[in-house]
Amino acid sequence: MSDILFRSLLELGDDSLILAQRLCEWCGQAPSVEVDLSLSNLGLDLMGQATLFLGYAGEVEGKGRDADRLAFHRDAEQFRNCLLVEQPNGDFGQTMARQFLFSTYQLALFEGLVGSTDPRIAEIAAKAVKEVRYHADISADWVIRLGDGTEESHQRMVDGFDWFWRFIDDMFAVDANQRALIDQGVLVDRAALRPAFDARVAEVLAEATLPAAQPVWQVGAGREGRHTEHLSHLLGVMQQLPRAHPEAAW
C-alpha cells in the first residue's frame, strides 16, 4: 500500500514541479515586467507544493530520498506528472490555455484533498488550495481577455487550446491500484471531478467567445511514466546543475 501512496504523491508533486519549471522559463521573457512577476509567482507557488508533496513521498518511500533527490535524480520515465504540464510554453496564449486547464483541474482536486483522511495530504492541500484558487482565477481572466480580445489574440488562444485537448484524459487518469486509497478517503477519485471541470471549461470558453473543447484522440499515459519527448529536454535543463555537482550545497 505504501508503494501506491508513494506513486500517488509523486503524481501530485511532479505535476506541480514540472509546471513550475515551465513557468520559470518565462522569467525575463514575459510581455511586461508585471506579467513576468505574475508568472514567476505562479511557478513559485507550484514549487512550494512540489517540495511538500515530494518531501512526503520520500518519507513514505523510506529509502532516504528527500524532495531534492526525487526532483533532480530521477529520469523521465520515473516521473508521474500528466503530459499537459510538460508541454512547451509556446506563446503567452498557449501558456495561459495550459495554465487555465491545469489550474481548473488542480483546484477541484485540492478542494477534495483538503478532506483527505491522510492528515499530511490534507494539510498540504489546505495551504495550496488558496494559491490554486488564484491561479485558476487569473488564468481564466487571461483566457477571456485574449479570446474576446483582438482577432490575433483570439486566434492565438484557439491555437493554444488546440495543442492541449489531446491531454485532458491523461490528466484525470486513475490507476486501478489507487482504488483502495480512494475508498479509504486518502485520495480523491479524479474521474469524479471531470464533469465539474468540463462545465467550468465550457463556461469560460463561451465567455471568451472561443470554440468548445474538441473531441480529439487522447494521448496517454503520463501517470505511468510514458511521456512526450518534451519532458526529457525539460529535465535536461532542470537537472543539469545538481547532476553535475551532486553533493553541492549553498
Binding site: S32, V33, E34, V35, S38, N41, R145
Partner: protein, 94 residues
C-alpha cells in the same frame, strides 16, 4: 505591450486599522488586472491585507513650481500648532 497599458498607482494597507499607503505603480490594461499585478508585485512578502489602485492620470497633483506659495508660508506660523495652552492637571493623555 506594457507601453500600451496605462499606469496605476498602488496603495497597500499593511494591517487592519492602518491607512492605505502609496507603495508604487504598475502597468495594466484595466483596474481588475491592475489589482492582480499590484498583488503580485507589492504583496508577495505579506506586505498587505488590502489594495487600492488608482489610474495615475486620475490623480490631481500640486505643481512643484508653486511649492513656494503653497507650502512655505506655513513655515512661519508656529501659532497654528496647539502648543501654547496650559493643560489642566485633570486632563490626562493629551
Amino acid at each position: 505591450m506594457s507601453k500600451d497599458w496605462p499606469l496605476w498607482e498602488v496603495f497597500v494597507r499593511a494591517r487592519g486599522g492602518l491607512d492605505h499607503r502609496h507603495v508604487g505603480s504598475v502597468h495594466a490594461p484595466d483596474a481588475e488586472m491592475a489589482l492582480r499585478h499590484a498583488r503580485d508585485t507589492y504583496t508577495r512578502r505579506m506586505e498587505g491585507v488590502s489594495l487600492w489602485v488608482v489610474k495615475s492620470t486620475d490623480i490631481a497633483a500640486s505643481d512643484p513650481d508653486q511649492s513656494g506659495e503653497l507650502f512655505e508660508p506655513a513655515q512661519s506660523k508656529i501659532y497654528r500648532h496647539p502648543t501654547f495652552y496650559e493643560l489642566p492637571d485633570a486632563v490626562k493623555h493629551m
